[in-house]
Symmetry: C2
Subunit: 283 residues, 2 copies
């Protein structure tokens, strides 16, 4: 069986389910979670929001904490949350098991360096293999949006900029906007991609934004001004400079008093879901 069902719970009239499958891209078994709203049927497939989580997370954190199943249910939107890295006994981890590299920290890139390149191909997994699997097995349309938090916010913006034909809209909470310039990104990229920094730029939102041409994907970025990582790892000013330069349609909202936690996500996620819904309606 291609997909192995792991759990199923009714929620907000729809279903939250977890599945495992053997990923060819990740060369390992992987688990994802999906929320299907009650109106999703083969005859009336629904659009999908892909959610990319941050460091240390798996498919569960967002689904347990985002707190807006009712909104997704009413708007008729599926949500898919993959893991943040390959997993399994054979998958290498950082030597010291650190939180910011290796397991739980795939950074949504395709690794080129051994031993990482055998499994750490999260870019291809998120862009191709996962949506193909989702669209083959569930009553969803090809209308896709992508959102994420922190490392996953980096993933969402970067992936949308590289694949504007595949996503109607993209949003991010507290994204790492300029990974080639900050410690988290530099550690991950040097290990996954090697020391030649030219190879890093294809995964850097600020760089991609500055070089963007084509039909832009509307974006919404939410940032808390009490985020402990604001100036060291996230650097939204770098993104805003690139957005200004490019005149890219990105709405940036600095929220007073909010930190880097899921409490921040839970506060504004409804706006992000509605942002996607609005863009689907007009696309």
């Amino acid at each position: 069986m291609e997909l192995e069902n792991v759990s199923a719970s009714k929620v907000a009239g729809g279903w939250h389910k977890q599945y495992c499958f053997d990923s060819k891209t990740l060369n390992s078994k992987t688990r994802f979670a999906i929320f299907l709203p009650p109106n999703a049927t083969e005859e009336k497939p629904v659009p999908v929001m892909y959610w990319l989580s941050g460091l240390t997370c798996n498919d569960e954190n967002f689904m347990q904490k985002f707190g807006a199943f009712q909104v997704a249910s009413r708007l008729g939107i599926a949500i898919v949350a993959p893991d943040t890295s390959p997993r399994g006994a054979n998958v290498p981890d950082d030597v010291d098991g650190s939180y910011d590299f290796g397991l739980g920290a795939g950074f949504y890139v395709n690794a080129t360096q051994p031993p990482w390149n055998t499994h750490y191909n999260m870019y291809d997994f998120v862009v191709d293999e996962l949506p193909n699997m989702i669209e083959r097995h569930f009553p969803v349309s090809s209308k896709r949006a992508i959102s994420g938090h922190s490392m996953g916010g980096h993933g969402a913006l970067m992936i949308a900029l590289r694949n504007p034909d595949r996503y109607s809209s993209a949003t991010a909470f507290s994204p790492i906007t300029n990974p080639i310039k900050v410690p988290w990104g530099q550690k991950a990229f040097s290990n996954y991609l090697g020391d030649n920094r030219d190879n890093w730029e294809q995964y850097d939102t600020c760089k991609l934004m500055r070089n963007f041409s084509g039909s832009p994907v509307p974006m919404l970025v939410e940032q808390g001004d009490k985020d402990d990582f604001l100036h060291t790892q996230l650097k939204p000013d770098n993104l805003l400079t690139a957005v200004e330069y490019e005149k890219y349609p990105l709405e940036f909202r600095m929220q007073h008093g909010y930190d880097h936690s899921y409490f921040f996500i839970a506060t504004f996620i409804e706006d992000h879901i509605r942002f996607h819904a609005k863009n689907w309606m007009t696309s």
Copy 2:
């Protein structure tokens, strides 16, 4: 310092905070979480919903997963979530560390049997010490409601029936309604309270309901019909028989397809918060 602040995150315009203090009742340090809506001030104190969690939980599970901060924020309601047992190196646990007795499983009773009676006084803690602490330190009124899940649903209904003057309303998700008749309750009560079953009845919702006299506390009980513990541990039919006999104002809702998880709570918690708000307005 009486209260030690452990964390603070802005959420839905208000604040989620965790505090520790040395509990005289529990003879140990304890942690609780509080949500304060943005309109809570010394001049305009807000009502409080106390939330009692189920087996294995602490003060975090509900706050991270209930998903209705926006509703509590808009309605101007504080929420307080205590731990489910005393904690600490000196607090005894079940010999085999089982999930259904000892740490994480205080069952909201005052233990009379050694070694439990030194620390396991969750009834007095929830009814007296905690609200006294809350009302002394935060901008909350003396309008209280109480809700809970599973073991905490037992706690909420039982405590409201024994203290109808202290709570405006009570609600429960998937409560253990008749603990003296089911394995979870029998294991906990025999250990905490001893073998004389007469001493158990003061903590049994069905028994208290049948003997109730006075001014009743309006109640709402939510139960999923796909709950794995429905017939073995929860036994809502026993509660409904007692409610019918007593003509007690309890609304019972059997929800089709829902299980015992937080996904069930997240689906209907808004109704419970509004149930409390309605009763506060009319009380």
